[in-house]
């Protein structure tokens, strides 16, 4: 009796939590993130319905089982019933998986027309590199990396194409344009996580991993590291600053002028 009542109350409390959530998602800022919200809602409704039905069924079983004396010659099973619920759940879950994979694994559309930015993660900071006025990313190598000397990306001083490259500690991107981030780590695994993009991507040393985005609305969002990377993991913060295109170009110009040339 008590069990049924407590489970009933817990189920109710669970529903109330969703009716009056203590915290919720931040607004999404890309088309993919909006699609994510849709798929999340679909999954939530399906899982919510199963949750409530299953918990109530357990409550009912306990409340009813106690109240009826001498009931129930024990059945050893029922093939039709079992075949029914296995097919229904399998169909439901698999169609959810199919719906959920539509927004996944879109093929890359190449570099053309994209603003390419290199992302360098390391214990426990972020560096972002832009190609500079020549539009070419210069050569980089581990031996040139010098954090205190202002060269966290390891730009090769002998390469003319590297000399005009811009580095910054926050990630500025132009609004309304396709952006390609190329993620690099020099030490351990980090992770690029921006909640408003509804996605995250591990950054693995030895690999260059692409991440494409297209944000229309200017704004400032926090970048968090989401893969345990050492004692400073929870301090590994940066900002994603989405600027109107003209302002973004102006910022690059100014930044280029300020950049100490080696």
């Amino acid at each position: 009796m008590l069990f049924g009542l407590i489970l009933l109350l817990l189920t109710l409390a669970g529903c109330l939590l969703f009716a009056f959530p203590p915290v919720w998602f931040p607004p999404s800022i890309t088309a993919e993130a909006l699609a994510w919200d849709g798929q999340f809602r679909r999954t939530l409704w399906i899982c919510g319905a199963i949750f409530v039905c299953a918990q109530l069924l357990i409550c009912w079983t306990v409340l009813r089982g106690r109240s009826r004396r001498g009931a129930g010659a024990g059945s050893h099973g029922h093939r039709g019933l079992e075949a029914g619920w296995i097919s229904v759940t399998a169909l439901l879950f698999l169609s959810l998986a199919v719906a959920g994979s539509r927004g996944w694994a879109r093929g890359s559309t190449g570099l053309a027309g994209k603003e390419v930015i290199d992302v360098y993660a390391h214990q426990f900071a972020w560096t972002f590199r832009y190609a500079g006025p020549d539009g070419i990313f210069g050569h980089t190598a581990t031996e040139f990396i010098n954090d205190s000397g202002g060269n966290p990306a390891g730009l090769d001083p002998a390469d003319p194409a590297a000399r005009d490259d811009i580095t910054a500690a926050n990630l500025r991107i132009p609004a309304g344009r396709d952006v390609l981030l190329r993620l690099h780590s020099r030490d351990v695994i980090h992770d690029f996580f921006v909640r408003e993009l509804r996605t995250k991507q591990d950054i693995v040393p030895g690999m260059e991993i692409p991440l494409e985005l297209h944000v229309d609305k200017p704004g400032t969002y926090e970048i968090a590291c989401a893969e345990l990377c050492g004692l400073g993991h929870s301090q590994m913060r940066s900002l994603l600053i989405v600027l109107p295109d003209a302002e973004y170009e102006r910022w690059k110009q100014e930044r280029w002028k300020q950049e100490p040339r080696q």
């Binding site: 919720w24 299953a54 001498g70 010659a73 099973g77 998986a97 199919v98 345990l228």
Partner: protein, 563 residues
């Protein structure tokens, strides 16, 4: 005399005595793991607090009484390792499997009693090495229980605790793997070779089927972790580069390694790690099926389907390790295959759930503490399983991966559900463990407090995940977006205190009942399986395990050895 008595007791080959050793080892481990979680929860909501005894306990990691991030992360690593390996792997399979499996089969002993003792002592040594890993200079490792390289593979340069501490951690895990492999060989052999007369496979109680499936999973997955651990030890100590790529610069030091892949470790680790989830939960599923039937006074609904579902879950469970790697840099196309297989596990899991409910449906329920924990298990299993439907979709996982949503998910489905299975087993088989009964009144108080506490702790935790709160953060002070989540985190901390305090009721019950509990005689629960028959009774089996149809005069059940 005294020394000889205790030594022979200690190095026993008796399966019940070994079961008791495992029981107490995992009890000690769970108390330590729980204490660690409380300290961690405290630190998360009061990161700047100065605590006198922190400084006394960890003069380096908490000098001045304020916990450093590296100490927090080492406690997190120890908590995860202890709970996954020494609690969730040992208690369900090694403790209760050893206790009951041979007797339920009519075997009276495990196939290899000496091997059995050896597994325990290797496991015990593994536990000591794990504790030692936190006592060496630099402190315990801080790379989490998943120990992803390069962080875990390049030595002290990657952080305090990554020196000797991390090396010892891998040694401990290697030893544990060896012990687990020996146990699984023993369980498999016992099931296949030592069944008593009349005990056909399809007459085995579901507990035995699930221990068998668990042992098969163990045998297939622990060797992989053992091999991976050896490779990473070679990377750490022998200068090899299995998991380390070229061009790494850690701190200011250029690494000489070249040619390895950090993702290779993740493949090997999760090839073990995902089956490990089922190693933890399958025995609980068997125990719950058995207990539901016993206390609903009804046969298990769909015995064959339950057996098939266990093996379907095990088989699919071997094929879904990639869902831990959706955002790791793995090809996004492989994620779709892993996703479909993962979601497919929902089907046999749903069969189990429906069949449990159908077993209890219309039954003359006896709501003993064991039965309450079994019903609680079903409830928690549903709740924890449903969040898996979010995480099984790569796109949805990309947001929730490494957030508190995942923490809530696996604590419910792997932690609390398996723990409910362990509690149910403890109450049910206490007469066989210690010859006495646990106190039912205290047991029920403990159950209700634990049930409420578990939901109060891990239910709201999903919302921290909605807010994108990353896990494995030593504090929530740096990020603006985490400030609104803090009140919720405070609630979770207080709920965790409540949950932990509720366990004092169990501890008191345990200690009191071992010494003073009501003596149990014979078949106290009116069960059907062979572990309840008397020492001089025949163990020849004449019927299936769940005959609750009033077949025998004056009773509603028929024991398996009744002609």
């Amino acid at each position: 005399m005294e020394a000889k008595w205790s030594l022979s007791r200690l190095f026993t080959t008796d399966h019940r005595a070994i079961a008791r050793l495992y029981f107490f080892l995992s009890l000690g481990a769970v108390l330590l793991g729980m204490a660690l979680s409380l300290v961690m929860r405290f630190h998360l909501v009061r990161p700047d607090a100065q605590v006198g005894w922190f400084a006394a306990l960890w003069p380096v990691g908490a000098s001045g009484g304020v916990m450093t991030p590296e100490l927090y992360l080492s406690l997190l690593t120890l908590h995860g390792t202890i709970m996954v390996f020494f609690v969730l792997t040992l208690a369900p399979l090694s403790a209760f499997g050893n206790l009951v499996l041979p007797e339920q089969l009519g075997a009276r002993s495990m196939a290899f009693p000496k091997l059995n003792a050896l597994s325990f002592w290797i496991t015990f040594a593994s536990f000591l090495v794990l504790l030692a890993s936190c006592a060496v200079a630099g402190g315990g490792p801080l790379s989490g229980w998943t120990a992803y390289p390069p962080l875990s593979a390049v030595g002290a340069i990657a952080g305090p605790g990554e020196g000797a501490g991390q090396t010892l951690w891998f040694v401990s895990i290697g030893l544990f793997c060896a012990g687990a492999m020996l146990t699984s060989i023993n369980v498999i052999s016992t099931v296949l070779d030592c069944r008593g007369p009349g005990m056909t496979l399809m007459r085995m109680p579901l507990t035995c089927w699930n221990w068998f499936a668990t042992a098969v999973l163990s045998l297939l997955s622990f060797p992989v972790l053992l091999a991976a651990g050896m490779l990473i030890l070679l990377d750490r100590l022998g200068g090899t580069s299995f998991f380390l790529p070229a061009g790494m610069l850690i701190g200011d030091e250029k690494m000489a390694h070249a040619g390895g892949s950090p993702l290779l470790w993740q493949h090997l680790f999760w090839f073990f790690g995902h089956p490990e989830v089922y190693i933890a939960i399958l025995p609980g599923m068997g125990i719950v099926s058995h207990i539901l039937a016993t206390f609903a006074r009804k046969p298990v609904f769909g015995y064959r389907a339950m057996v098939s579902a266990s093996f379907a879950i095990s088989f699919l469970g071997m094929l879904v390790w990639g869902h831990h790697m959706f955002i790791s840099g793995l090809s996004p196309y492989s994620a779709i295959a892993f996703s479909l297989l993962t979601m497919a596990i929902g089907a046999p899991s749903a069969v189990k759930t429906f069949n449990w409910i159908a077993t209890a449906w219309n039954g003359r329920l006896r709501l003993t503490t064991a039965m309450l924990f079994a019903l609680g298990f079903v409830s928690i299993f549903v709740t924890g399983g449903l969040s898996g439907l979010f995480l099984g979709q790569p796109e949805i996982d990309a947001y929730f991966h490494d957030t508190y949503f995942v923490v809530a998910h696996f604590h419910l489905i792997m932690g609390i559900a398996a723990l409910f299975g362990i509690f149910a087993a403890t109450f049910y088989w206490f007469p066989i463990l210690f010859g006495r009964l646990l106190n039912e009144r205290l047991g029920k108080v403990h159950f209700y407090l634990t049930f409420i506490g578990a939901y109060a702790t891990f239910g709201p935790m999903h919302f921290a995940g909605f807010a994108g709160n990353p896990r494995r953060y030593a504090d929530f002070t740096t990020f603006d977006f985490l400030q609104p989540v803090l009140p919720l985190q405070k609630w979770i901390t207080h709920a965790a205190y409540f949950l932990a305090a509720s366990q004092l009721v169990f501890l008191w019950n345990l200690v009191w009942s071992i010494c003073r509990g009501e003596r149990a005689a014979g078949n106290v629960w009116e069960s059907t399986s062979l572990e309840w028959c008397g020492p001089n009774e025949s163990t020849a089996v004449h019927c299936g395990p769940y005959e609750f149809n009033g077949a025998t005069e004056g009773r509603d059940y028929r024991m398996q050895n009744e002609a």
